[in-house]
């Protein structure tokens, strides 16, 4: 038997090509764009129906969320109970969600039950009745949920951070408050639905084992609203970041503080975006990042720390996030700024850049592995009216970026004195 030398890493190969499955795109009823990703081996289907109907389309922050949540609480022909029973009977799962830009209904179903569950999905999108009784139960329950969330330092920081970087009145910066729940009524939700859950305001992404028969069913059974009231405009506002850089939300009994440090930043449409994503990965975007190595693996201040560059439809931002023992709050903040400065003052060495590059190439492979991963990846570009060229470009940047490029980007975007700082808890 050969003598094993365990000190030396086995040979490995760099990933040089990533297979990006291009969706088939067609127009349903000549109107609704449908993205088809036929992939995987199991007889499963995920169907996402996405509307431009997020919270920014209403003056009252919770209208979008409740319109979305109430979709499966009753239709003109089915009660809330019937809907719940039918979705469950077929073992399907319906996920409803609304964020600041979009609202969506996503169906997960076994292929053999697609017919039946598509009927249900169509019914809740087309004919919701927004019954008062179910609405009042939902409002009460969400009020409770809100009060519980308000006890989490993480929530306090996230809300404050939004306000600070976008402005309290801005549609991205405003937060739902307890009093907002009292402003919601059934008629409002009906109006919002009528205005925005419209065939000219939607897209469909369907992934899994997608046969011709599935597409035929879609053509014959699926439809959404077609009304004259359609209006998906919203009041574009300029962001108004806070004039103060440091913000503190006290929670006297907290044993940990939640820290957020960040700022408004470019989004996916900007040419520097891929480069800044790579820079962010080095800083706080993976387990071996500088923030994790420093705050967790060297100093033991926190269970986890990370940073992210996030894109919204009409804005973008950068944020570092962690929860640390109350007594280490200031020490942790100092280290976060130190790591930002280090990216500006010193070039990343080739060893670290090589490792991050390979890790990110691995992430690319994972991002396109399996039907649902592929459809998540697709969403991340089509939501921004882009296509898979975005990934091709990203890969090109990833393969070619140099330590000098990264240092320049850090100087341009990560200056510590441009950052906003929010601490919730105790310090």
């Amino acid at each position: 038997m050969e003598i094993l030398n365990r000190d030396i890493a086995p040979d490995f190969r760099l990933i040089d090509k990533i297979n990006i499955n291009t969706p088939k795109i067609y127009k349903l009823h000549q109107t609704i764009p449908v993205y088809v990703l036929n992939a995987g081996t199991e007889d499963v289907i995920r169907m996402e129906v996405v509307f431009n109907a997020g919270s920014k389309f209403s003056d009252i922050p919770l209208v979008a969320a409740f319109t979305n949540m109430m979709l499966n609480e009753g239709t003109t022909s089915r009660t809330s109970k019937q809907l719940a029973e039918e979705f469950d009977y077929y073992g399907s799962y319906l996920q409803l969600s609304a964020d600041r830009d979009f609202a969506e209904a996503t169906l997960y179903t076994l292929g053999k039950h697609f017919d039946k569950t598509l009927d249900l999905l169509t019914d809740i999108i087309l004919n919701p009745s927004f019954p008062e009784d179910e609405l009042s139960v939902l409002l009460d329950n969400k009020r409770q949920r809100y009060k519980i969330d308000e006890q989490k330092v993480k929530t306090l920081s996230a809300k404050k951070f939004n306000e600070v970087i976008f402005g309290k009145e801005h549609f991205y910066g405003r937060n739902a408050e307890l009093s907002h729940y009292d402003l919601i009524n059934s008629q409002q939700l009906k109006d919002f639905h009528k205005r925005l859950y419209h065939k000219n305001n939607c897209k469909v992404i369907i992934s899994g084992k997608i046969t011709d028969d599935v597409l035929k069913r879609l053509e014959s059974n699926f439809s959404v609203f077609d009304s004259i009231d359609f209006d998906n405009s919203f009041l574009l506002q300029t962001t108004q970041p806070s004039t103060e850089k440091k913000h503190y939300v006290e929670k006297a009994d907290a044993v940990q503080s939640s820290i957020r440090i960040g700022k408004p930043l470019i989004n996916k449409h900007h040419e520097d975006y891929a480069g800044v994503q790579i820079l962010n990965t080095i800083l706080g975007g993976y387990f071996g990042s500088r923030l994790m190595s420093n705050l967790r693996e060297d100093k033991g201040y926190t269970y986890g720390v990370g940073s992210a560059i996030a894109s919204l439809k009409d804005a973008g931002y950068f944020t570092t996030v962690c929860e640390v023992g109350a007594e280490s709050t200031n020490l942790a903040i100092t280290e976060i700024y130190k790591e930002l400065s280090r990216l500006i003052d010193e070039k990343v060495d080739n060893e670290e850049l090589g490792r991050v590059r390979n890790y990110m190439l691995g992430e690319f492979v994972r991002m396109f592995d399996g039907p649902f991963a592929q459809s998540d990846a697709l969403r991340s570009v089509i939501d921004f009216d882009m296509d898979e060229n975005y990934f091709e470009n990203y890969l090109k940047v990833l393969k070619n970026i140099t330590p000098t490029d990264l240092q320049n980007l850090a100087g341009k975007y990560f200056q510590p004195d441009t950052m906003y700082e929010v601490v919730s808890g105790k310090m």
């Binding site: 490995f12 073992g91 100093k299 033991g300």
Partner: protein, 412 residues
């Protein structure tokens, strides 16, 4: 059907391979048969702390994570009361790196003081973040010792207290490693774009010379049958009262296990479940309520937990829950049972799409006696009858078998 090959090395390491050539990736899962239930009552939280230490460098390789990142890999691990499980995915052409890394840390850790010191702090912060600094976060720290008097399930994987973690010494770490981390106490599963012959070669090359070790043999004390209701009241500054009802149920391999699992689904999994439909939507007793099982190897728990609406007393909420249990015992329709079975089927199909989930599932079932149980699970759910459910309801979901925790909201 998940097809697989299985072989065993001379040192007792069991290896399972499932080939799936539709992915460019491979997943590697190593399960060690040690969890919080194997801990010394004076040193709880140790199995989980140990999981952290497994990333602090091994005998020949100073960093576990960095070489894996170099080849495009991603990894993680988790500890339960029963097992400690390590898993990774990477581009399949670089699979040998996974064998190199995993075999070296099975051979021996580096046992550095720095790693122990830092991970003690990290785990204490994890304790605070997940259990102390969250509303209702400490429930399991109290519910476990209420439900278990003898079995080590009476403590949570994170441990009883911060002191148990901060007091850990290097000698404890070494003893634990050599008592539990061994080829003959582990199951290695590789899934994805791989071939069994190649995996056999790599397994022999990298794991073959790791010596078999004496595995700790101490018997786990089994929980005696509970004969009367146990109660505990906690007062905390949270917005709503909450109730937790924990019924003892049989362990994973018992014939009644899947029957009780189905009962938990009928009661409280999804928007059409009995508890949610009647007590949240119709009677408005609870703001939210659900039922689930712990899935333990030894005597487990079926938990019903709910947030109680303002103006409703604990006693009222509790009696409403028991009324639902009585109604269920008297009246279960075939359609309702069919619904839950359909849900179980979908959950299994969706759950095993991913190569990593398949790897973890195969490892778990192999530990339970036979990896092929992954393929017969659905049949077992489908064979449960209405009569089975009624018998199990009477046997397990009775008040004298319950541990009931009132989590009472008080002003700060």
């Amino acid at each position: 059907m998940i097809n697989f090959d299985k072989f065993e090395l001379d040192n007792g390491l069991r290896v399972i391979v499932h080939a799936d050539n539709t992915t460019p990736l491979a997943a590697v899962n190593i399960l060690y048969q040690v969890g919080a239930r194997n801990e010394n009552p004076e040193r709880t939280g140790f199995a989980h702390l140990f999981e952290h230490l497994m990333f602090g460098g091994s005998i020949n390789i100073p960093s576990y994570d960095e070489p894996l990142q170099w080849v495009g890999g991603e990894n993680n691990a988790f500890t339960t009361n029963d097992i400690t499980n390590y898993h990774l995915t990477l581009p399949t052409e670089n699979i040998e790196t996974a064998f190199w890394l995993e075999s070296d840390r099975m051979l021996s850790l580096a046992f550095t003081d720095k790693s122990l010191e830092v991970q003690r702090s990290v785990v204490i912060e994890e304790f605070r973040q997940r259990y102390l600094n969250q509303p209702y976060g400490d429930v399991w720290l109290h519910l476990r010792p209420l439900a278990y008097k003898v079995h080590p399930y009476k403590w949570a994987t994170i441990g009883i207290s911060e002191e148990h973690i901060s007091g850990v010494k290097m000698q404890d770490v070494k003893d634990f490693f050599f008592s539990w981390y061994a080829p003959n106490n582990a199951i290695l599963v590789v899934t994805g774009n791989v071939q069994t012959e190649e995996i056999k070669r790599l397994a022999n090359k990298w794991f073959g010379d790791i010596p078999k070790r004496e595995i700790s043999k101490s018997e786990i004390p089994q929980e005696p049958v509970q004969t009367e209701t146990r109660r505990l009241v906690l007062e905390r500054p949270v917005p709503m009262d909450a109730i937790y009802i924990a019924f003892k149920m049989p362990g994973r391999m018992d014939v009644d296990y899947k029957t009780v699992d189905i009962i938990s689904d009928l009661l409280g999994n999804g928007k059409s479940s009995r508890l949610f439909r009647i007590l949240v939507m119709e009677k408005k007793i609870f703001g939210d309520i659900e039922a689930y099982i712990t899935g333990s190897i030894d005597t487990g728990l079926l938990i019903i937990e709910g947030r109680i609406n303002p103006e409703i007393s604990f006693e009222k909420a509790e009696s409403e829950v028991f009324q639902i249990l009585n109604e269920l015992t008297e009246n279960i329709s075939e359609t309702e049972l069919e619904k839950v079975k359909n849900k179980a089927e979908a959950t299994l199909v969706f759950g095993y799409i991913d190569i990593l989930n398949k790897a973890t599932g195969l490892a778990f079932f192999e530990m339970m006696g036979d990896a092929n149980l992954i393929n017969t699970e659905l049949e077992e759910y489908q064979s449960v009858s209405v009569v089975d459910l009624k018998i199990a309801l009477k046997k397990y979901l009775k008040i004298e078998n319950a541990s009931i925790l009132y989590y009472k909201s008080i002003k700060e």
